[in-house]
């Protein structure tokens, strides 16, 4: 196929179509599909190299979505709740890869809680998306562990258990990039995604993503209506990539620029009150208060761009381990002889 000459290309020379994936088989209107679109847009805008992306997921409607974006990237639909370990292994094998992990609220907060916690603790570079609809979509609408107290199931049953807030958990664990957004607010979600691409550690993005089939009714706190009504953005977010010069002056107090390690900048424009995303406890307070009052606070909750990453902890060579040539991974003959000598005399 020859392309129309007018198709715009991004900084790595690709057209937006090259960031698309297969046709979605989700329910029409599913929040997850909107997130898929935002990923396509953000990856195109940021100029992610799809050949370096790996798309990883667990099991669930949400976990199916990696098949629907970035068709030029390797994808891996693992087992339920265990994507974080696969992401860790993948990154260990090749530190030049850019893992995008897609998970659901069931996949992360129920079965996957242990692996999620430990991925965050290790700060494995990974854009970790939780497509949060408060239910298990694929198994037909049971409550997940992020369902709010008092939220009603489609059949009318009420959830009695408190929700697990993956953002709060991530912040508590020292995660360097924690955001919350809403699938229906691409204006907010896309810059957050671009910032996540620019972030070298684990970025956790919890995205309210309504399940139109099982959790979009009155009484649900994860419905489109509820999310729209209760959405309270912390700030307006703009993303200024490192290759674009911006000379616009910022009026003091109006906006704040945060520099990402790659030189890109996140511009946070105040909405009501000033919000400081570098204040861990402040973020916790905002989350707790919002939860108590039933507000959905969205935006960049916490950012520490300088966090030590997994690759540094592991003290890895720069090149991917996956393609090191034999002579770099098999020590020479004399090493074996030295080792054998140790076991001959008992000094090994």
């Amino acid at each position: 196929m020859t392309e129309a000459p007018s198709v715009p290309k991004n900084r790595v020379g690709l057209a937006k179509a090259e960031y698309r994936g297969g046709k979605s088989t989700l329910c029409p209107g599913c929040g997850h599909d909107a997130i898929t679109s935002s990923i396509v847009e953000a990856a195109f805008d940021y100029g992610v190299d799809p050949q370096r992306v790996v798309k990883l997921s667990g099991i669930g409607c949400s976990s199916k979505t990696p098949a629907y974006f970035l068709g030029r990237s390797h994808g891996f639909n693992a087992v339920h709740g265990r994507m974080p370990s696969v992401a860790t292994g993948t990154f260990a094998a090749n530190r030049t890869l850019i893992p995008i992990g897609v998970s659901g609220d069931g996949d992360t907060a129920s079965i996957g809680m242990g692996q999620f916690v430990h991925l965050v603790r290790r700060n494995v570079p990974c854009v970790y998306l939780i497509e949060n609809n408060g239910v298990y979509g694929l198994t037909k609408g049971q409550f997940s562990a992020t369902a709010d107290v008092g939220s009603l199931q489609k059949g009318g049953r009420k959830n009695e258990l408190p929700p697990i807030d993956c953002c709060a958990i991530a912040i508590e664990l020292g995660c360097g990039f924690v955001a919350r957004s809403f699938s229906g607010d691409p204006k907010q979600l896309r810059p957050i995604l671009k910032a996540a691409f620019a972030f070298p550690g684990t970025s956790v993005i919890d995205i309210v993503s309504p399940c139109v089939t099982f959790n979009d009714h009155e009484g649900s706190t994860k419905s489109y209506d509820y999310a729209k009504e209760h959405d309270e953005p912390l700030h307006q977010i703009g993303f200024v990539p490192f290759w674009e010069h911006v000379d616009v002056e910022i009026a003091p107090g109006e906006a704040k620029d945060v520099e990402m390690p790659d030189g890109s900048r996140l511009r946070l424009q105040k909405i009501k009150e000033e919000y400081d995303p570098s204040d861990r406890l402040g973020a916790m307070r905002v989350i707790h208060e919002a939860r108590a009052e039933g507000r959905l606070v969205t935006g960049l909750l916490f950012l520490d761009p300088k966090k030590r990453t997994f690759a540094e902890d592991a003290d890895l060579v720069e090149e991917p381990l996956s393609t090191l040539p034999e002579e770099r991974v098999r020590p020479p003959r004399k090493v074996l002889e030295e080792i054998m000598q140790g076991f001959r005399v008992g000094s090994a």
Partner: protein, 621 residues
């Protein structure tokens, strides 16, 4: 210093003539040291083992320790065998009794002529008249050497090394060389331990009248050889196999595999230019994560492995099926301990083999290697990584506690002659020359498809991996015929595996009706048992099984014999069952000898098992 000369001139305790019930035994007996866990006897025992080994005598050392850090009984047994037998031997001829709790039982386990070296600080175990008893005032001997009472507790063990050396005529220069080898880098400890061994030796020479028949005499059977545990050997093999990603979650008896691997990697696999690691070790949060990391890494192109034991294998079940179905390389060492459940975490077993064969729900069949020696551990360390990539599957290596954690003699390991095999991986250049890349298309007809590694710089490289139904183009499908085609190809791949796994080691006795079959550590008991059986008039063939899937040699072997005894270390005869299924109509020939008390199997158990079955069989037939 003159001191060693003095010692060497002492010919051991003044020997009196042996009483009639005492048979002389030279280089062919076992000695057992019974201590309390955490008392630091491990170094002393290793010194004894090495000193004998350095005198050229075939030895094997077995550590029987509790699942406890300090306070429970522990035993160390050294078998000397001039004939080179290295399986465990039932019972022992010499006992060093340091632990009051078990002294009576341990002493009772010795037959007439048995020798008891007894720490006189504990109650004297009562033994029949025809045992030889030597009381030793260990506390008194060690006191002048080690002023610090806390240290004394540790060093006292080296005193019994000296005492035993003296009693058995183990050369002090070899004891000293062994201490030197082990503690050479720790000057203070070295001196103290040397002094303790010497003090024990001198005291025994001066105070114990030799009244027993046990003696060590120099031979020439260990020259050039090494003494090593299987886990270290596996670690070395894995390093030379080019492992790049290692994950683990600590569990006895597998931890030492990864712990020694870490040691080697840090020493020998840092990039000379940058000092950075050409490997990545991740201590996972559990085994579910450990195996997930291994398969993720294998998928992304690493040579990856993890090491675990029973409970970890159970936890890896779900991922094992994913690895099989989505065709992900990765190596999983199972250093077996005895189950079910937590079982006896520090006792050996071959109780997982039947489970590994088909681990995970649904139709799965795995490749499993069975190392029987430290040399195998080394070789399979490399081979398993090759097979995993060649076959694009998780490969299991079923070792056990006995092999993994005990000291075994071996010829030194040879440097690998074959290059690393990365299997069917397409590079960007190859992709560019191909009309089309389909991840799951069996282009070669061997069931193994070509793969690409994430990060390959070519727009056609990408594909989608999933544990759900997929077609040749790696697309999702639920079509019945697509599913059948996929799992039939996987079955074909398993057939291909038969051509790649190591062949058995078969010794056919022409005309013998009987064949023995063993795998892993059980091998050492059957080769020894074969000799004993020969003395009973039975001359069985032997078959050392090395891997699943079975190769055609198995069917021929069973066809060539009337009765095949599958000898193994589990209650349910798990391998016997696998063999029965393999040989189909000949299943009736298979008999099962099982040893499952957590101790390594001994030749006697095999002999008794065969004899009993043969007697019964004759009656029945």
């Amino acid at each position: 210093m003159g001191y060693p000369a003095v010692l060497a001139s002492l010919s051991g305790p003044g020997s009196s003539p042996l009483p009639p019930h005492v048979k002389p035994l030279v280089n062919d007996f076992s000695l057992q040291v019974a201590t309390v866990n955490g008392s630091g006897s491990q170094t002393a025992n290793s010194v004894l083992l090495r000193a004998i080994f350095q005198m050229g005598i075939p030895v094997s050392g077995k550590n029987l320790f509790p699942s406890n850090i300090a306070g429970l009984p522990t035993w160390y047994t050294i078998r000397l065998s001039k004939d080179g037998w290295i399986a465990r031997k039932r019972g022992h001829e010499l006992l060093v009794a340091m632990n009051p709790e078990t002294a009576a039982d341990d002493a009772a386990a010795m037959g007439p002529g048995g020798v008891l070296v007894w720490n006189d600080a504990i109650p004297r175990p009562s033994v029949p008249e025809d045992r030889i008893v030597y009381g030793v005032p260990f506390a008194k001997i060690v006191e002048p050497i080690v002023p610090d009472a806390k240290l004394r507790r540790l060093v006292v063990n080296m005193v019994y090394v000296g005492v035993v050396a003296s009693l058995l005529s183990i050369e002090m220069k070899e004891v000293e060389a062994a201490i030197q080898g082990m503690l050479g880098r720790k000057k203070k400890a070295l001196e103290m331990n040397l002094a303790a061994a010497r003090a024990g030796f001198e005291w025994a020479a001066a105070n114990l009248g030799k009244r027993d028949g046990l003696r060590v005499e120099r031979m020439n059977k260990t020259a050039g050889k090494i003494l090593i545990d299987g886990n270290a050997a596996a670690a070395i093999g894995s390093m030379f196999g080019g492992v790049t990603v290692v994950t683990w979650y600590p569990i006895t008896p597998s931890s030492s595999l990864v712990e020694s691997l870490i040691g080697f990697l840090e020493k020998y696999r840092r990039d000379p230019a940058t000092g950075k690691n050409t490997f990545c070790v991740v201590q996972a949060e559990d085994e579910l994560a450990a195996v997930g990391m291994v398969l993720g890494a294998g998928w992304a192109g690493a040579r990856s492995l993890t090491s675990t034991s029973g409970p970890g294998i159970s936890l890896m079940s779900e991922f094992a099926g994913l690895g099989y179905f989505a065709e992900l390389p990765g190596v999983i060492w199972d250093i077996q301990r005895i189950g079910p459940s937590t079982g006896l975490p520090t006792r050996t077993s071959q109780g997982d083999v039947g489970k590994l064969a088909t681990l995970s729900h649904g139709d799965t069949r795995h490749v499993v290697l069975f190392p029987s020696s430290v040399r195998d551990c080394f070789e399979y360390g490399m081979l398993a990584l090759d097979l995993a990539e060649r076959l694009q599957i998780p490969v299991f290596v079923a070792s056990d506690l006995d092999l993994g954690m005990n000291q075994w003699m071996s010829d030194p390991f040879p440097y690998p002659e074959k290059p690393i095999d990365r299997g069917k991986v397409l590079s960007a250049e190859q992709l560019a020359r191909l009309p089309k890349f389909e991840r799951y298309r069996d282009v070669d007809g061997d069931g193994i498809c070509w793969r690409t590694i994430p990060g390959t710089p070519h727009p056609a490289a990408a594909y989608f991996t999933r544990g759900s139904g997929h077609n040749e183009a790696a697309q999702y499908t639920e079509r019945p015929e697509d599913y059948v085609r996929l799992v039939d190809r996987l079955a074909k791949k398993y057939e291909t595996a038969k051509t790649l796994v190591p062949k058995p080691d078969v010794e056919i006795r022409r005309g013998s009706e009987i064949g023995l079959l063993a795998y892993g550590t059980t091998h050492w008991a059957i080769v020894e048992a074969r000799e004993e059986l020969r003395r009973e008039g039975i001359d069985p063939s032997t078959f050392l099984l090395r891997a699943l899937p079975f190769t055609p040699e198995l069917a021929s072997y069973v066809a060539a014999h009337d009765r095949v005894y599958v000898v193994e270390q589990n209650r349910d005869g798990q391998m016997a069952d696998l063999v029965r299924l393999e040989v189909g109509a000949e299943a009736g020939k298979i008999r099962s000898i099982r040893h499952y008390d957590g101790l390594p199997i001994d030749a006697r158990s095999v002999v008794e098992g065969v004899l009993a079955a043969e007697r019964e069989g004759v009656a029945v037939r």
